[in-house]
């Protein structure tokens, strides 16, 4: 077989004969009378010409790549048909296999020819480590798109695929795409004026990959360094923050990140927790000590007890009789002092009719007779019910019913007292009013709805218009 490694030169004037049977070759002028193989006496022989050489001069090509490189690591050459794509196939010990393709912009030749190939496993892993370093460093991950493949100046995109024997039968492989990170401008530091319309993505992913945590501080500092007249920059900062929050929301199963939430469910959960931790948060505020101290104390008389001369403190439901000392609220309802003070320290309303005990509306309805509960029509709406309380009240309703709009405003709901006067009825806003509230809530959040996705979409629309 030694002869195979040293082929005879067929390009000279001497003709070379090749035996297809035993692959022997010889100069024809050595045996001018016959074409029979001197070695095996086969007649299947051929005169070799430079244009038609049956001999397998590069006989390695007939061996499969995998077999050829099985026992020695070596970087293969690139694809001759695609001169802007270099392909390197790499075999390591243990079946490790790597295919690397480098895409070059078409108008630029490879500066140094094929890349130098690592020739041992250490080199492979060193290169692998460099790749990981590229991913985590300030450089950015290559992204298929016009600015990575064909922008000026031309860029290199490396697609590297690693394969190896899996833990079970089969092959495990992964692909790493690296981009021309160092060549590209680092938009997180220098947002140039000429950046394309998709630079929010670049900044976002730069932040996302290159920094930990939301880009808030970094954006804020940059905004302060720059002229604040650049509204576009600020918008981009907001945009990238929203996108990074979106991604964080995808990563975080609870849809919450620090103080921010990304879904109605998460907001529901937080509000529910707040409600449970402080169930009185949406109830009327406590009465002040002075207001409590100012409440008149009286001995029960016949007029207060009515014709039957019987009554009870509705808080402790103890019977009371003439001569017992009571505290009389501005609404004329009376109670044991110790009983009503316990309540007033929590809420500044009458335990029966919920009229306020201080403030402008204190004691109304003024004309209401003692012991007779005022009709719902002349009870004022409770004081101190701010829109925040409305919000929480509605949020509480929404938290247990997820289909309800969370931000339903309820400002024109009937006064609470009218419902309280009917203790056997739950509150029941009419359907028409309710749907009107829902519509209003939706309008308030913009025509395209709420949530980060809608917000992002709006941002893009703004940028394009």
């Amino acid at each position: 077989m030694a002869s195979r490694s040293q082929h005879l030169d067929a390009t000279t004037s001497r003709e070379v004969v090749y035996c297809h049977h035993c692959e022997h070759e010889w100069y024809r002028d050595e045996r001018p009378n016959t074409l029979e193989c001197p070695s095996c006496h086969s007649e299947i022989t051929e005169i070799v010409s430079p244009n038609n050489d049956p001999r397998n001069l590069s006989d390695n090509d007939s061996v499969p790549d995998y077999e050829r490189h099985r026992h020695h690591t070596r970087d293969s050459d690139d694809d001759p048909d695609e001169d802007d794509i270099e392909q390197h196939i790499l075999h390591g010990p243990g079946g490790f296999f790597s295919r690397r393709a480098i895409y070059q912009s078409p108008d630029r030749q490879a500066p140094n020819g094929p890349r130098a190939a690592p020739d041992n496993a250490d080199q492979i892993f060193r290169r692998f480590t460099e790749l990981i370093g590229d991913l985590g460093g300030p450089a950015m991950v290559g992204r298929s798109g016009p600015d990575t493949l064909f922008a000026n100046p031309p860029q290199r995109v490396t697609v590297q695929r690693f394969s190896g024997p899996g833990f079970t039968a089969g092959v495990s492989s992964f692909t790493i795409t690296t981009g021309p990170g160092r060549n590209r401008p680092d938009p997180s530091r220098s947002p140039g004026p000429g950046m394309g319309p998709d630079d929010p993505f670049q900044r976002l992913f730069g932040n996302f990959i290159g920094e930990t945590g939301p880009p808030l501080g970094h954006d804020a500092s940059r905004s302060s360094n720059q002229n604040d007249g650049d509204g576009n920059t600020r918008q981009n900062a907001d945009f990238s923050m929203a996108l990074s929050q979106l991604i964080a929301s995808l990563i975080n199963p609870h849809m919450a990140h620090g103080d921010a939430v990304y879904s109605q469910e998460a907001l529901d959960r937080i509000i529910t927790n707040l409600m449970e931790a402080n169930p009185q948060s949406n109830a009327p505020a406590p009465a002040s000590e002075e207001a409590i101290a100012k409440l008149p104390k009286k001995k029960l008389d016949e007029e207060m007890l009515g014709p039957e001369l019987k009554g009870e403190c509705t808080i402790c439901i103890d019977d009371m009789k003439v001569g017992d000392e009571v505290v009389v609220l501005p609404c004329k309802h009376w109670f044991h002092e110790q009983c009503v003070v316990l309540w007033l320290k929590q809420h500044n309303t009458c335990p029966i009719c919920r009229a306020a005990i201080d403030g402008d509306a204190a004691g109304r309805p003024s004309g209401a007779a003692p012991r007779s509960q005022p009709s719902s029509s002349d009870v004022p709406p409770p004081l101190r019910r701010s829109s925040v309380q409305n919000f929480f009240r509605n949020a509480q309703a929404g938290s247990s019913s997820r289909q309800e709009p969370l931000f339903r405003r309820d400002s024109n709901s009937p006064p609470m007292n009218s419902r309280l006067m009917q203790p056997t009825r739950v509150r029941s806003p009419s359907p028409s009013r309710r749907s009107a509230q829902s519509d209003r809530a939706r309008d308030g959040r913009g025509s395209s709805g709420g949530g980060p996705l809608h917000w992002i979409r709006d941002q893009f629309r703004d940028r394009r218009s």
Binding site: P279, Q280, S281, N282, A283, P284, T314, I315, C316, I317, D318, Q338, C339, L342, W343, Q346, T349, C350, P351, I352, R354, R385, Q389, R393, Q396, A397, S400, S401, R402, Q403, E404, M416, R419, L420, P423, T424, R425, V426, R427, S428, P429, S430, P431, R434
Partner: protein, 156 residues
């Protein structure tokens, strides 16, 4: 005995001697006045008629200054009761901002029974059931009855 327990025992005594319509009230644990167990018969004429529902009433330590917690221990198909094992009830008078000490457990239980006779789809806990109640009352009644047959036969 605190004033809270005094009031609770008074209310309990009253509820046991003359129970609210269609209800039986027991104490699961004689030593715990704050936890009541109520058997509520479905109101006649409603899809819940024939069912026997168990309610759990938990009176907070500072009752009557805080509202009692009333839940269905029996599964029930109702717009204002969560369709799960928690059985939370949406009852306006029990909400913290609506509660007043003059309200009594008896009134609360009457309100729950009234809610079975007359669901309130405008303030639902189960929006889907509320929509069905409004839009497809026959379907709603059928589903409610099937829940009664499955869960509310008094075997709880």
């Amino acid at each position: 005995m605190s004033s809270s327990q005094k009031r609770i025992s008074k209310e309990l005594q009253e509820c046991m001697t003359s129970p609210p319509t269609g209800m039986t009230i027991t104490l699961p644990s004689e030593s715990d006045l704050h936890t009541w167990s109520v058997k509520l018969a479905g109101p006649p004429g409603s899809p819940y008629a024939g069912g026997l529902f168990t309610l759990s009433v938990v009176l907070p330590p500072d009752y009557p200054f805080k509202a009692p917690q009333v839940t269905f221990a029996t599964r029930i198909y109702h717009p204002n009761v969560t369709n799960d094992s928690a059985g939370a009830i949406c009852l306006g008078m029990l909400k913290a901002e609506n509660w007043k000490p003059a309200s009594r457990v008896r009134a609360v239980l009457d309100a729950v029974r009234q809610l079975l006779a007359e669901p309130n789809p405008d303030d639902p806990l189960e929006a889907r059931i509320a929509d069905e109640f409004r839009g497809a009352p026959r379907e709603f009644e059928k589903n409610a009855r099937s829940y009664v047959a499955r869960y509310a036969q008094g075997k709880k």
